[in-house]
């Protein structure tokens, strides 16, 4: 008997679920209750994935999508964080810009894709810009709210020790914003990937989104499912990377949730 909730039991349970899904899916197709044309079939997908992994095409497309996602994420996060601090620091700028920022923030940013494709072409830059346009605002708002939520009592306590504003910023304001920034980063990573894929689906020559659009255009269900699996693996990988980084940097907070 395995201990309930132990690591090995968890994995066994999860594999059982996977096996069930594959079995039912494959079985329904084999007995003819489901059509391969519409839902493909697990073994076909695995076969296609294996072929793709051995060829260079999948790596190229995955690489392009990752470059777009990571560059958009990093540039957007950096600019958004700096802008968030700036806005919290200069009240006037906040007052003047707030309605416009909220306006753009409320806009579904993928709607900007056609514009970016016109401006920056069908290559990598337009996807990076799209990712930036999403990530920037999330970090801007999270950082701003983080600064607003700094515990005034902590600030006062350190001030009465005779600390100059610079010291208060470095030792109190910055560290207390980090959880806010991180929660922004975690959402942003997933949304940056979404932005790249959507951009690629609209107009591109490379990338996983391009693969999806092409497969869909040729009614290649197996191809679509294969790309979806690659995307899911990428998303889980980056999420866990962020969670691990967060755990390291925020160990003073204790347990954080992780998949």
């Amino acid at each position: 008997m395995m201990a309930p909730g132990s690591r090995s039991e968890r994995w066994v349970l999860r594999l059982v679920v996977l096996a069930l899904i594959v079995l039912v899916w494959e079985g329904l197709c084999r007995i003819g209750w489901a059509s391969e044309f519409w839902v493909s079939r697990p073994f076909l997908i695995v076969e296609r994935l294996w072929e793709a992994v051995r060829s260079t095409a999948l790596w190229l497309h995955t690489g392009v999508t990752m470059i777009e996602t990571v560059s958009g994420f990093l540039l957007g996060a950096l600019a958004g964080t700096i802008a968030g601090f700036a806005l919290a620091r200069w009240r006037r700028a906040h007052v003047a810009l707030e309605p416009y920022l909220m306006g753009i923030y409320s806009l579904p940013r993928v709607a900007l894709a056609p514009l970016f494709i016109m401006w920056f072409g069908i290559g990598i830059p337009s996807k990076i810009m799209l990712a930036i346009s999403i990530v920037f605002f999330i970090l801007l708002i999270n950082t701003y709210v983080g600064v607003q939520n700094v515990d005034r009592d902590l600030v006062n306590a350190v001030k009465t020790m005779g600390a100059p504003p610079r010291f208060v910023t470095r030792r109190v304001v910055l560290p207390s914003c980090i959880p806010w920034i991180f929660s922004g980063l975690r959402i942003s990573m997933a949304l940056a990937l979404t932005a790249s894929v959507v951009g690629e689906m609209l107009a591109a020559q490379y990338g996983l989104g391009f693969m999806l659009a092409r497969a869909s255009g040729t009614f290649d269900t197996t191809g679509i499912f294969m790309v979806l699996i690659v995307l899911a693996l990428l998303a889980i990988g980056t999420y866990n990377l962020m969670a691990r980084l967060e755990k390291r940097l925020l160990h003073w907070q204790g347990e954080t949730t992780q998949i």
Partner: protein, 255 residues
């Protein structure tokens, strides 16, 4: 010798509400003064003004003969709320006031950890410490700052009764050795009498100095023995009779 802390004709108004009304008091060097009064009488507000966190509406305060908070780190402030940095270890929290001055001395910090009986917890984060331990870290941090005046705003108010008694004992022992000037705000009249040289009673809002009582109990004191002292009982009854009126008066006023 001039008084260490002077509050002269201090009034504070928040909009139409007058919190403090022409309060004057002095604290001599090395004196332990407690301030008691009903909730909302402006006790904490007064400490905030002395600390320079809040501007006075009228009148003023001075520390060591200098207007305002005296500048630099002359004043050490211990809040009722936990004000330890949650992202810093106990040791780093104690070092904080030394970091402000740009002179970190981890030997001194370790000695202070020992003084407050927390050796072995240097690397713990605040969330890993009990309420009583966090108070002791704050006490050590206050001592690390080595200020001329300690302002304490119900520092032990949030602790359970037993832990409070133990911390009061420890604090009293440390204080009687160092004899720093203390201005101590509390709800707890027993605590005020047991620790102080002088108890100042503030009236219901708008807060005015209603009376000042000298606590002529011998030092060094031990909190548990003081509570059984006949002079303590007499003082308690005398001050409580007056304080009770204010507490009742404060209840009748809209807040």
């Amino acid at each position: 010798m001039p008084p260490k802390v002077t509050v002269s004709g201090l009034s504070i108004a928040f909009g139409p509400t007058r919190a403090l009304d022409r309060v004057s008091l002095t604290v001599n060097d090395g004196e332990f003064v407690s301030i008691v009064g009903p909730s909302g009488c402006g006790k904490s507000t007064m400490l905030n003004v002395i600390a320079g966190l809040l501007p006075p509406s009228e009148g003023g305060t001075s520390v060591a003969g200098i207007e305002g908070n005296g500048g630099g780190s002359r004043i050490g402030y211990m809040f009722q709320k936990d004000t330890l940095l949650p992202w810093a270890t106990a040791l780093d929290n104690i070092c904080l006031p030394m970091d402000v001055k740009g002179a970190r001395d981890s030997h001194k910090a370790r000695a202070l950890m020992q003084l407050v009986d927390l050796t072995g917890f240097e690397g713990h984060y605040p969330r890993q410490l009990s309420g009583g331990m966090r108070k002791r870290v704050q006490l050590a941090r206050l001592l690390a700052q080595d200020p001329e005046v300690l302002l304490m705003d119900e520092p032990f108010g949030a602790l359970d009764a037993q832990t409070r008694l133990i911390i009061q004992e420890e604090f009293l022992k440390i204080w009687e050795r160092q004899r720093k000037t203390v201005l101590f705000v509390t709800h707890d009249l027993q605590e005020a009498i047991a620790l102080s040289d002088k108890v100042v009673l503030i009236s219901a809002r708008p807060g005015r100095v209603k009376a000042t009582y000298a606590v002529d109990l011998p030092r060094p004191r031990r909190v548990d023995q003081v509570l059984a002292h006949p002079r303590f009982t007499a003082l308690f009854q005398e001050i409580w009779a007056s304080l009770k009126q204010e507490v009742l008066a404060a209840r009748e006023k809209p807040t």
